[in-house]
Symmetry: C2
Subunit: 343 residues, 2 copies
């Protein structure tokens, strides 16, 4: 494409503040071709920060925002400050069509609420969902949604999540016909809640959709690479994703303790450093950073609050890829297929 | 205590069949003092199996059962065959007061349904729950419940699970006043479903209970050792527990791949074998095996279907300890405290 992807970055959100966000944007500028950035936040601070990133001058534009959403701020409060905050203004740039996507490392609840209010839910979608990539033993990462936008869902929501998740996997993972599974507490048809069984029945019938429905998947199989998209309610999804994160850290901590246990093990650890580094690289959340709100009329990517420069660049890369692949149009097409079938 | 703990073992359930079950009982006999066993199953097969375990002869009694519950049998079918199956007869020995506890590695749903029907739910408990121990970085394991007995729960159920889980932690982990947390998707008061928030409000008021309520805990903190009892609905609990299991295996698999990646790493791996063995020992589910159905008028322990000899012995050890510590009476006492307070 000749026209650049235009991405609005909330330069103020995230634990590391403006320095990490700008370093992340600069890294994305080095890593990806053809992105133009709107850097939204305190103009003086951004200008000062840019001094150390000369590669950004030609590729970015500062949009001043006098205020910032705090990380502990309630969504209901945050939405009242959409017009003056860096997060709100970044989303508004998407709404106005100036930017194709917004990226923020700030308060998730606020970002969700503001995005929904400003960009509105797509036709055919009852509720947007938060999706992210998880590392797996397979050839690609695995998409998982919803990760916390909806604590309770019905069968219809789950089917819509499946459609959106498959469209996302087609762009983020370059898959033709992604395998989709519903998270459940067993693999037999009778297992789980009525909502899940009903969603499974609907997906089994949905041969016209561009996805390959594989039935139920249990918590112990999330990382096996046996499916491409894992669909669930936001409560269990959030628990499962954080449990993966916590357990990986737990095992790494146990391993560190065990290695520190004897001189022999310490020596072994030093020798096998390339192996443990490889593991660390594979599991580093910064290499999978960037959850996306699916189901809105615009692309909003949530970068982890603790993401570093690499993480922010990864999240920006996802946003750019979704823009290039025209994700929103793809989802709309798939929803059209459901409607056509229903009619 | 001078009278032995009497434990009924379903000798037929589990992937490894009768050989693994008897080897597990024999290992428990060597490991723990003063247990008398009822070995329930096909008499001829058990007698034949006992030939290789002479230490069991004086300590066990065979109870013949002509039939076995299959692992894929629906609970609704299984309960009709309670009187003729090894699982049903083992539970009945508890009901009759001949045994203090039953242990089975068979079909979980069938075991739950049969136990509930035969032993009945305790006064003051609306629904029994399945509890188990998870490895943690703390000084003791962590109790988690419900793990799948109830896919949907209300606030009252969650409070009862907290009381039962705390009583279980006092006996299984020898804790005076266990720390109890509710699993949630955030730690702020407003997070999660209404049921969870309501349960939290009730537990915050419950200073008279022998537990220390610590609020909400997220999925990434399950293994940190920051709490002793994690309370949740059976759907998320099952997902979380299996996700811990799957992720630990995933990290171990990645590590194996990484170690196999170069000769240098292979050598490092061999040298650090004591460390990786320590890790394997700590994470081996057989060392934490034995989920217990809490809230029934009797003790029923579910051993994992794939448990080996060590795992079966561990599950039997839990059953014996609950008997010695009079767990059922303890739970009843705590429920009495709730009622007294309510009155």
């Amino acid at each position: 494409m000749t026209t650049p992807s235009r991405i609005a970055v909330d330069a103020m959100g995230g634990d590391g503040g403006i320095a990490v966000m700008l370093a992340g944007v600069a890294a994305a500028r080095r890593r990806y071709e053809g992105i133009h950035f709107y850097l939204v936040g305190d103009e003086a601070q951004i200008r000062e920060g840019l001094a150390t990133h000369p590669n950004l001058t030609a590729a970015s534009e500062i949009v001043h925002a006098p205020d910032v959403i705090r990380s502990d701020e309630k969504p209901s409060q945050a939405i009242r400050r959409a017009r003056t905050t860096s997060m709100g203004i970044a989303i508004d740039l998407v709404k106005q069509g100036k930017a194709g996507a917004a990226v923020s490392s700030g308060n998730t609840g606020a970002l969700m609420a503001m995005s929904k209010l400003s960009l509105r839910t797509m036709k055919g979608i009852d509720r947007p969902a938060l999706a992210a990539l998880m590392p797996s033993l397979g050839e690609t990462d695995t998409v998982m949604l919803d990760l916390g936008a909806n604590t309770e869902v019905d069968a219809r929501n789950l089917v819509q999540f499946a459609v959106m998740g498959a469209a996302y996997a087609r762009t983020a993972l370059d898959l033709e016909r992604p395998r989709v599974s519903l998270l459940n507490i067993g693999t037999e048809e009778m297992k789980g809640t009525e909502n899940i069984r009903e969603a499974a029945a609907a997906l089994r019938e949905a041969g016209h959709l561009r996805l390959d429905f594989r039935g139920f998947i249990e918590g112990n199989k999330l990382s096996r690479g046996e499916t491409d998209v894992i669909v669930c309610d936001g409560f269990s999804g959030n628990i499962a994703l954080k449990t993966v994160e916590g357990t990986a850290r737990f095992v790494a901590d146990l391993l560190r303790r065990a290695f520190a246990n004897s001189i022999r093990s310490k020596i072994g650890f030093l020798i096998s450093k390339p192996a443990t580094e490889l593991l660390r690289h594979h599991l580093d959340p910064n290499n999978h950073n960037g959850a996306v709100f699916l189901g809105l009329n615009g692309i909003v990517v949530k970068s982890h609050g603790s993401a570093n420069e690499t993480g922010v660049a990864t999240a920006i890369g996802f946003a750019a890829k979704m823009l290039r692949d025209d994700l929103i149009r793809r989802i709309a097409e798939d929803l059209g297929h459901i409607e056509a079938k229903a009619a």
